[in-house]
């Protein structure tokens, strides 16, 4: 796991969280998905639910996102939601 994921969670009016992480778990319309470094490029629709981010140092961040989508490319994960907040 050489390259950590670059994660940013953005909502309509501000950037909720951004940083590096080893794993992101999100809930899409098809079910929960876990993303590690090197994941293939993907665009998915999010179901409203919890996003769990495991940071590089092992600490965890949780966020609530509503009506949005998730994109993965080049080890960059972008979670975009109309309304999102950290829990």
């Amino acid at each position: 796991m050489a390259t950590p994921l670059k994660v940013s969670v953005v909502s309509a009016d501000h950037e909720v969280w951004t940083g590096e992480a080893t794993m992101v778990i999100a809930k899409t319309v098809e079910g929960e998905i876990g993303i590690l470094a090197g994941h293939e490029p993907m665009l998915a629709i999010l179901a409203s639910g919890e996003i769990r981010i495991t940071k590089a140092d092992g600490a965890k961040v949780q966020a609530q996102a509503d009506s949005g989508f998730l994109s993965v490319e080049n080890n960059t994960v972008t979670i975009v939601a109309g309304t999102a907040s950290l829990i």
Binding site: S11, A12, A44
Partner: protein, 299 residues
């Protein structure tokens, strides 16, 4: 005190009071511009992410979407006007209304019927005064736009767009708003929102950055289905934020001009008042001297 002098003093006092108000408003809007600009900046990551995603879907799938296809015949077009709730902002509102009138004229000359969606009390007052109809109006909260409002507007516009023209729907949607260019320059901007034409409009992607081959979940069509409304909402929200920032800048400019004007008035009236006072004194002296002369010559 002579009558003339009293009138001038009154005018000076009134100009001073007005100046106090306009100065205060100038300072208030100056501080609000900062906030409004910060909000525009804060919403940029969101619109950038959405634009990127939409261009990714659009360029890697040949999905025809109802929101991107041009209708064969455009019968009815909608104009969305973003104005402000309060006046005292110079030509801010009249600029955007003028731009929308021009657009309406153009659309009518193309044989399209024009309907209106209005945002802000000023636009709705303009329409009410002229007894013109609008489909929907949203008032209040233009000073600090909420995303929920953008969502509401987006939903209403989409619903109207997806209704066939024969049942009262529209085939085309234009938005009209003031873009914040700098503290001194705000320009009315007219953009066609629907059907979407250039997807990569907001932010040109670098030609070097090749968009990767995405995997869509559940599939490209569904992703586009849910992405496009969000994209539209983000465009609307951006227009609202731009308009709010522009409004504050326009208010600041107008109030600065008003304060400067008041300064000029106070100066001019002070001169006139001094003049009146002086001539009053001169008159009194000549009266006394004239009186004394008359007395001494009568002896």
């Amino acid at each position: 005190m002579g009558a003339q002098l009293r009138v001038y003093r009154q005018k000076i006092k009134s100009a001073q009071t007005t100046k106090k108000i306009t100065r205060a408003m100038e300072l208030i809007s100056a501080s609000r511009i900062q906030k409004a600009q910060a909000r525009v900046a804060a919403s940029t990551p969101y619109s950038r992410a959405i634009t990127r995603a939409v261009s990714a879907v659009a360029s890697y799938s040949n999905v025809d979407h109802v929101l991107t296809t041009e209708p064969e015949k455009i019968e009815r077009a909608a104009i969305v006007i973003f104005s402000s709730d309060r006046g005292l902002a110079g030509a801010f509102n009249s600029n955007v209304l003028k731009a929308s009138e021009q657009l309406a004229e153009l659309l009518r000359s193309q044989g399209k019927e024009v309907v209106y969606f209005l945002i802000g009390r000023k636009a709705s007052a303009y329409f009410a005064f002229r007894r013109r109809a609008s489909v929907r109006t949203w008032t209040g909260g233009t000073d600090s736009p909420q995303f929920e409002t953008a969502k509401e507007i987006g939903d209403a516009l989409l619903e109207s767009f997806l209704t066939p023209a024969s049942e009262g729907g529209v085939d085309e949607i234009h938005v009209c708003y003031n873009r914040f260019i700098s503290m001194l320059v705000q320009e009315p901007e007219v953009v066609r929102l629907l059907p979407l034409e250039v997807v990569e409009g907001v932010e040109e992607l670098d030609s070097k950055t090749v968009l990767p081959l995405y995997n869509f979940e559940p599939d490209a069509e569904k992703v586009l289905d849910s992405l496009l409304p969000v994209y539209i909402e983000s465009r609307l929200f951006n227009a609202m934020l731009q308009s709010a920032a522009a409004k504050h800048a326009a208010t600041q400019k107008a109030m600065k001009a008003a304060s400067d004007n008041a300064d000029g008035l106070i100066r001019d009236f002070t001169r006139l008042a001094n003049n009146a006072r002086q001539s009053e004194i001169t008159q009194q002296i000549s009266e006394i001297v004239g009186g004394a002369d008359a007395l001494s010559s009568a002896k």
